[in-house]
């Protein structure tokens, strides 16, 4: 190939890619999402149904709740689907979102190694179990990434009166990464960790880890869905985004959520009004 034809070929390649990028934007929306819904496989179950009904392709960017909200506030998405109610409400009141809808829930659990060095196995009172972990000096792995799960964990610590970050780097290890990465770290260090149940069930590197604490009302995990405000972000595909929000909170969408099972267990429980 001569130099010239090589440049031509490259130009054509680049043009082709640019064109494919444009094509993908028609009749498609971007959902800024928390990772648990993506990693658990819920979207693989849900989205094909929606796309078939509406012809709208859904592109999911799965990041922590904190980053998802930030990205959506930068107008880099059409719909926000996360689990941090107060942050979501602030997102709407700041004008970035149109309206927040409850979508579904599941719950958080505290997982830990089989030998359970802090002796919290079977406890229901999450605050008590956290106090016990802290006082026993057992290692605890935290997301430390301002995600929905991390925010929840911090609020639970706050209600115990313990400031775990004073033990940061010692018994309290902040990974600063996603749920799966944090679970990998916890397994590697025999550390306790708090995770949403869906991620835990679908997580494949459990080793000898088990759920140690579950069932406390305070471990409730509510997901919400919000259309990014087209008045604030003119690029938002409001029609298609609204169609997605309407569908997931409709009877059909809610039924589809309820029907998703992994290893015989239901992962998410629909609770739209």
């Amino acid at each position: 190939m001569t130099f010239k034809t090589r440049i031509l070929a490259t130009t054509a390649l680049v043009a082709g890619i640019a064109a494919s990028g444009v094509a993908a934007q028609e009749q498609s929306i971007i959902v800024q999402s928390t990772t648990s819904t993506a990693n658990s496989g819920l979207y693989d179950h849900l989205l094909p149904v929606f796309t078939q009904e509406t012809g709208i392709a859904v592109n999911v960017v799965a990041v922590g709740t904190g980053q998802a909200i930030k990205n959506a506030a930068n107008c880099d998405g059409d719909v926000l689907l996360v689990h941090a109610k107060s942050a979501e409400e602030k997102f709407v009141s700041d004008g970035f979102g149109v309206e927040r809808f409850d979508l579904m829930y599941n719950d958080f659990v505290i997982v830990g190694p089989d030998e359970d060095p802090a002796g919290v196995g079977g406890m229901q009172d999450v605050q008590a179990s956290l106090e016990k972990i802290a006082s026993s000096g057992a290692v605890f792995a935290s997301r430390g990434d301002d995600s929905g799960t991390h925010k929840k964990e911090m609020s639970l610590w706050a209600s115990t009166g313990i400031d775990p970050t004073s033990g940061s780097g010692a018994w309290y290890r902040e990974t600063g990464s996603g749920m799966g990465a944090t679970l990998n770290v916890a397994v590697g260090m025999d550390a306790y960790a708090m995770t949403d149940r869906a991620t835990w069930i679908s997580f494949e590197n459990k080793s000898d880890f088990e759920i140690q604490v579950e069932g406390d009302e305070d471990l409730f995990n509510q997901y919400g869905v919000i259309l990014v405000n087209p008045a604030k972000c003119e690029n938002v595909n409001a029609e298609a985004g609204q169609a997605f929000v309407d569908w997931v909170i409709s009877d059909a969408g809610q039924a589809a959520i309820a029907s998703y099972q992994l290893n015989g267990q239901q992962l998410f429980f629909p609770n739209a009004d």
């Binding site: 890619i17 990028g21 592109n59 799965a62 506030a73 996603g178 990998n184 690029n235």
Partner: protein, 235 residues
């Protein structure tokens, strides 16, 4: 380790079953990284050549800058490109975020300094041999640049390979600007990161093996081309 043998088994079955998702991901990886490499060469080779043949005040500072930029962390490049391509950023109107184009832009920025710095070295050596002849022929700067790049083309392939290797292996930049969207912007490295976060270490490792084989294949192709060239005294 059980994960290793499991990974081998999985890698083989993925490859030989022609898993359509895998094919798509591999194709996008190659498309993005090869395009970025081509663009980085189009930008970086002439710049490297220009610096190789030119003496100017502050040249050493430029060389140090080149070399430092070779170590740019992908995630920083990703963030930089994200901030520009985000709807809230100056280039947001282009609507390029979360497209393969955005990934190509990020990787091009990531590896252009590598191409510049390494080609500068290669071309400076060649220029030491050619410069008197060039000056004797009274060539313009642009003619010299073109002649040097053309005559060093086989050595420069190695430079291109270094750039390609870094592009195809990085995850930080494409994750941020591509978003790892299934069937749209998911490439080998982001898929590996995803499977790792899902705790499916065996599958992650299997994808890693496939990536390695691809990188090996590209390297082997270029090297054999180069060996042919060396035999014919073009290198």
């Amino acid at each position: 380790m059980q994960d290793f043998s499991e990974a081998f088994r999985l890698a083989l079955s993925l490859v030989f079953s022609g898993d359509s998702d895998l094919v798509e991901i591999v194709a996008l990886s190659l498309q993005v990284s090869l395009t970025a490499t081509a663009l980085a060469c189009i930008i970086g080779l002439p710049l490297g050549a220009l610096v190789a043949i030119t003496r100017f005040p502050g040249r050493n500072a430029v060389l140090i800058l080149f070399n430092a930029l070779m170590g740019l962390p992908p995630v920083v490049v990703g963030l930089f490109v994200y901030l520009h391509l985000s709807r809230a950023g100056p280039l947001g109107f282009l609507g390029l975020l979360y497209t393969p184009t955005a990934m190509i832009i990020a990787q091009t920025i990531l590896i252009t300094p590598i191409v510049m710095a390494l080609s500068r070295q290669v071309l400076e050596d060649l220029n030491a041999e050619y410069s008197e002849q060039f000056r004797s022929l009274v060539l313009s700067r642009w003619q010299q640049v073109r002649a040097l790049i053309w005559d060093a083309r086989f050595s420069l392939m190695t430079v291109g390979l270094a750039g390609f290797g870094r592009a195809v292996a990085e995850v930080g930049a494409v994750m941020i600007v591509g978003g790892n969207i299934d069937h749209l912007t998911r490439v080998m490295t982001t898929a590996i990161a995803l499977e790792t976060s899902k705790g499916d270490l065996a599958l992650a490792l299997a994808l890693g093996l496939v990536l390695m084989v691809i990188a090996l294949g590209v390297n082997a192709m270029v090297q054999s081309l180069r060996m042919t060239a060396v035999r014919h005294a073009y290198a």
